[in-house]
């Protein structure tokens, strides 16, 4: 049953750009929007590996997104590396960054973990911001080359393919013994230690995996916009996947992706309704968030808890 639903959704998603392309310029714009939704969905899902499954609130996840974006931008612009190689490098470089940053961060728990990820994220942001000669500072890097084969539709399909592959991979990870251990640690860290789980190394590895996926999404995002800028690493960018996870549902794999898509859709609709309304987007987003925090945790998170405790 689930497989049939998944196949149907997939068919719909694959045929989407072909339908949209029939609508001329507006259709092309929506293909672009859908591509961004997929990329942001991947970013949100990557964070959720540590947030929802690991119970670690990272406020510096955008650092890896940004590292991925800059990897693609710098390799393609300055070293003329072909897109596919640059894209493959993005998760690797992000994973290296996550290895170093994660090593320090997993030594702390709770709020202190959050603040240290924030500090490291901002540290990277400042480095990118200040290092004009290498990263272009606050100008960012513009004019990333676009291979001719990547028309908007093809780029959409490429992103969808990568998204589906990452989804399958994350599914395997989450359901593996590694994934189960990570959830055990989330539920009860003390007990996990007592039964002999090396909590830190599991969290560290999880942090690296999440960073790698974030790097991949950042690389895709840089190529989509054909630029990379410092805002990609800023801590307010780190908040985006957290919000998406909260809205979509933190304890499912695909929830954050749905949350990201819904939030983006709302934003675009608001923008389309009236140009001036985009100024108030943050107010709308803030209010949605307030409602979710105040009423839906006894909704989304809370319902999950109820279901979970019943099945125990």
């Amino acid at each position: 049953m689930n497989w049939i639903a998944a196949a149907l959704v997939l068919i719909l998603l694959v045929s989407l750009p072909f339908v949209l392309m029939k609508f001329g310029k507006i259709g092309e714009y929506w293909v672009w929007v859908s591509t961004e939704m997929i990329i942001m969905g991947l970013f949100a899902m990557s964070l959720n590996l540590i947030l929802g499954f690991g119970g670690m609130v990272s406020f510096g996840h955008a650092a890896f997104f940004g590292v991925g974006a800059y990897t693609v931008a710098l390799l393609m612009k300055k070293a003329s590396v072909p897109f596919y190689l640059a894209l493959a490098a993005a998760p690797l470089v992000a994973a290296i960054a996550a290895t170093i940053i994660g090593w320090f961060c997993v030594r702390l728990i709770g709020l202190y973990f959050s603040i240290l990820t924030l500090a490291f994220g901002q540290l990277l942001y400042m480095i990118v911001f200040q290092w004009y000669t290498f990263t272009g500072g606050d100008d960012g890097i513009h004019g990333i080359p676009r291979p001719e084969i990547l028309t908007p539709t093809n780029y959409y399909l490429l992103c969808l393919l990568i998204f589906v592959m990452c989804f399958m991979l994350m599914r395997m990870i989450v359901n593996s013994s590694f994934g189960l251990t990570i959830r055990t640690v989330r539920e009860n860290m003390e007990r996990s230690k007592f039964i002999g789980i090396n909590v830190r190394s599991y969290q560290w590895l999880n942090f690296i995996i999440a960073g790698a996926f974030a790097g991949l999404s950042g690389g895709l995002f840089a190529e989509l916009n054909r630029f990379a800028q410092t805002e990609f690493l800023h801590w307010s960018k780190s908040a985006e996947p957290i919000l998406a996870s909260l809205v979509g549902g933190m304890y499912s794999l695909v929830g954050p992706a749905i949350g990201a898509a819904v939030l983006m859709f709302l934003k675009i609709i608001l923008q389309q309704a009236h140009k001036a309304l985009i100024e108030t987007w943050a107010i709308v987003l803030g209010c949605i968030l307030l409602l979710v925090v105040l009423f839906a945790p006894s909704g989304l998170v809370g319902i999950y808890r109820k279901v979970f405790s019943k099945s125990e």
Binding site: L111, Y112, Q130, I283, L285, L289, V293
Partner: protein, 294 residues
């Protein structure tokens, strides 16, 4: 570097640190009692700065008296805003997990910052310094703005006031008790939720005061809230979450540190707070003045 120049830079850095202390102490105080890291603290500070701008635009004479009027009027206004926010929103999430609390305060950042943008627009603003504080003071041959001296005086006054309040009054005893043993305090018949509201208002008052002070020091734009909240985080982490004394030390380290790092490193000095914050978290996560939890 000559000795005169060193003293000059030190005073400059100290005045930056004092301003930061006024803001960060509010954040720390609120964390200590409410156990919530208030991301919106920076937004409240920014609102204070813009309120000061609007009020000063109506009191155009630029005299010391009208500046004092700003100092008296704006911080309580921010405190009242804090009262509304605490009673309607914060109070609902004290028993929730950290993530929800953080997200609640973050949603406030989104809302408040955008409301400020809608009301005041994106142009930089500033408050003219009152004539009495507009000049400069001669410090061993170098001109230090009188206004910086004013902040150098106000900072310690606030620190002393907070210390007297927290350690020499009954109210202070109750606040400190609420930090350590809120349940016992409640059992003794103290209305703990009222203590929390009052502490939150005090924190907002400090944010508002910082806002007024910065409005006449530098130009005010939509980014100052975000900028200061991160610096305040650094301060509070360095000093220890919830410790006002730690916030003083942390502020001075950050203020003086940035000023001196600017000499050899230029704009790279802005990396300094994050470096110190990361270093403290790695070596001594509970901060210089804090106590390890658990």
């Amino acid at each position: 570097m000559t000795f005169e120049y060193f003293v000059f830079m030190l005073l400059n850095g100290l005045s930056q640190g004092m301003l930061l202390f006024i803001i960060a102490s509010g954040l720390s105080l609120v964390f200590g009692v409410l156990r919530v890291i208030n991301f919106a603290h920076g937004s409240l500070y920014m609102i204070g700065a813009y309120l000061a701008y609007s009020l000063s635009a109506t009191l155009t004479d630029g005299s010391m008296l009208s500046f004092l009027a700003l100092l008296v009027a704006v911080p309580p206004a921010v405190a009242i805003l804090g009262f509304v926010v605490e009673v309607t929103l914060f109070r609902r999430v004290y028993r929730e997990e950290h993530l929800l609390q953080l997200l609640l305060t973050y949603s406030l950042v989104l809302i408040l910052d955008d409301v400020v943008r809608v009301i005041w627009g994106g142009d930089p603003r500033n408050v003219a310094r009152p004539d009495l504080l507009a000049g400069s003071v001669d410090i061993m041959g170098l001109a230090l703005p009188t206004y910086n001296v004013f902040i150098l005086v106000i900072g310690p006054v606030i620190a002393l006031g907070l210390w007297l309040l927290l350690y020499k009054t009954r109210t202070g005893n109750i606040i400190r008790a609420a930090v350590s043993f809120p349940d016992t305090l409640g059992a003794l018949g103290v209305n703990v939720s009222r203590v929390m509201t009052a502490t939150f208002m005090l924190g907002c008052w400090l944010a508002g005061l910082g806002g007024v002070l910065v409005a006449a020091l530098a130009s005010v734009d939509l980014g100052i809230g975000m900028e200061k909240i991160i610096e305040s985080f650094a301060v509070v982490v360095i000093g220890g979450l919830g410790s006002v004394g730690g916030a003083l030390l942390g502020s001075l380290i950050i203020g003086v540190g940035i000023t001196f790092f600017q000499l050899p490193f230029g704009r790279w000095a802005l990396v300094f707070p994050y470096l110190v914050m990361a270093a403290v978290l790695i070596i001594r996560p509970w901060g210089l003045f804090g106590k390890p939890e658990r």
